[in-house]
């Protein structure tokens, strides 16, 4: 819910997928690669970590920024996600401001978009 609100607030155009495999299938049909993927760790069929690994192995998707958004909060998991190629990691629960700040760090929204 909060993600939908943030995406709307930032005027981002968004598509949704139920799991990693669905997301990859969807990406394969898109002519324009999205700039950003917000990825939950826990998904059926293909989890977020596997999705990140697959995306990183795909040259066509190289420019897509990958942000894990998940309740998984062990240090070792964050390290694994970053090592697999995630650009950022947001632990749930988070506030709207926190997410926008993370996106600002990644250069996806102007600094101060929060205020």
């Amino acid at each position: 819910m909060i993600l939908k609100r943030i995406v709307a607030k930032l005027n981002f155009e968004a598509v949704e997928a139920g799991d990693g495999q669905e997301a990859l299938d969807l990406l394969a049909t898109m002519t324009e690669v999205p700039e950003l993927a917000l990825i939950d760790w826990n998904m059926p069929n293909m989890n977020g970590l596997e999705f990140v690994t697959k995306v990183r192995a795909e040259p066509r998707l190289r420019e897509m920024t990958l942000v894990m958004v998940t309740t998984e909060s062990e240090q070792s998991q964050i390290v694994r996600a970053l090592a697999a190629g995630a650009h950022e990691y947001v632990i749930k629960p988070f506030t709207e401001g926190a997410m926008i700040e993370k996106l600002a760090l990644l250069g996806l929204v102007p600094t101060g978009a929060n205020s």
Binding site: E74, Y89, V90, I91, T95, E96, G97
Partner: protein, 281 residues
């Protein structure tokens, strides 16, 4: 100018209902401090006026503002970003050239609240000082509760999300149950001291850099003057003072000169500014 009991009860009930946050009695000062910028933003003369208007004509936008001010406006890591970039790109290289003999820097995070700014400074120095250099960071705050929190160096999941890149979270923090604690290697360079900036300050060795951000906005002009004068005594002659984006020494204390520092401004004691760049006055 503390909040009236009725206003406090109104705000407490609102944030309890909307954000499940319990404001214990005694937090009147905190509520007022957080709502001052909100009242200003909506053009109310005071927090009391803002709350009175709102109770007469409740509106969701103002409700949201109050809740944000009391919840999501927790101090961020590397708040505003630019002062930390200026520190890395401009201030540290200059100080490294100037302090080659003792290779040690002292920084002060004034009004350090729960400690995020002080530890953000520590991370910046850890990553940008050459090998063989050391640093000390002092945080100060007027609230014993905040000093305790900052010394404990433990932050919730919600707090570590705020402006902290994940790479730095895993590098400079360790898990402590449901929380994250600043790693000892960083913590040992940072200390905290109870201090009232409006009272005479204790005698301390001077600082190379002082972060005094978003503090002056809460004071009247006379108090601003006295804080800036007190702080100048603890700033090394060639040191740097950083204020909040909405704050300035101009028109308040002529002993400071505003100088460009990266994409932001900093302040230096006038005599320290090289003659070629000093303005008249």
């Amino acid at each position: 100018m503390t909040l009236s009991a009725a206003d406090f009860a109104f705000v407490s009930a609102l944030v309890r209902r909307e954000a499940a946050i319990v404001l214990a009695p005694g937090k009147e000062y905190l509520v007022e401090a957080r709502l001052i910028p909100v009242a200003r933003q909506v053009g109310a003369a005071s927090v009391a006026e803002f709350l009175a208007n709102m109770q007469r004509r409740p509106n969701p936008e103002d409700q949201r503002r109050i809740i944000d001010a009391l919840t999501t406006n927790e101090t961020s890591w590397f708040r505003d970003r630019e002062p930390f970039s200026a520190l890395t790109d401009v201030v540290l290289p200059e100080l490294v050239r100037a302090r080659g003999t003792n290779r040690k820097l002292r920084l002060w995070s004034a009004a350090s609240s729960s400690g995020q700014e002080a530890y953000s400074l520590a991370i910046t120095l850890q990553e940008n000082l050459p090998t063989g250099w050391s640093y000390e960071i002092m945080g100060s705050d007027i609230s014993t509760e905040m000093i305790k929190r900052a010394e404990a160096a433990e932050y919730s999941q919600v707090e570590v999300n705020r402006g902290l890149p994940a790479t730095q979270l895993v590098q400079y923090f360790e898990r402590a149950g449901a929380h994250w604690r600043i790693a000892p290697a960083l913590r040992r360079n940072v200390s905290f001291k109870l201090m009232n900036l409006t009272a005479p300050l204790p005698a301390l060795p001077p600082f190379d850099v002082i972060f005094l951000r978003n503090v002056l906005i809460y004071f009247d002009v006379a108090t601003k003057k006295s804080v800036l004068r007190n702080v100048a005594r603890l700033l090394r002659p060639d040191g740097w003072l950083f204020l909040g984006a909405a704050e300035t020494t101009i028109g308040i204390d002529d002993n400071y000169e505003r100088v460009a520092a990266g994409r932001t401004s900093a302040y230096r004691v006038r005599s320290a500014v090289p003659a070629g760049t000093a303005r008249k006055g």
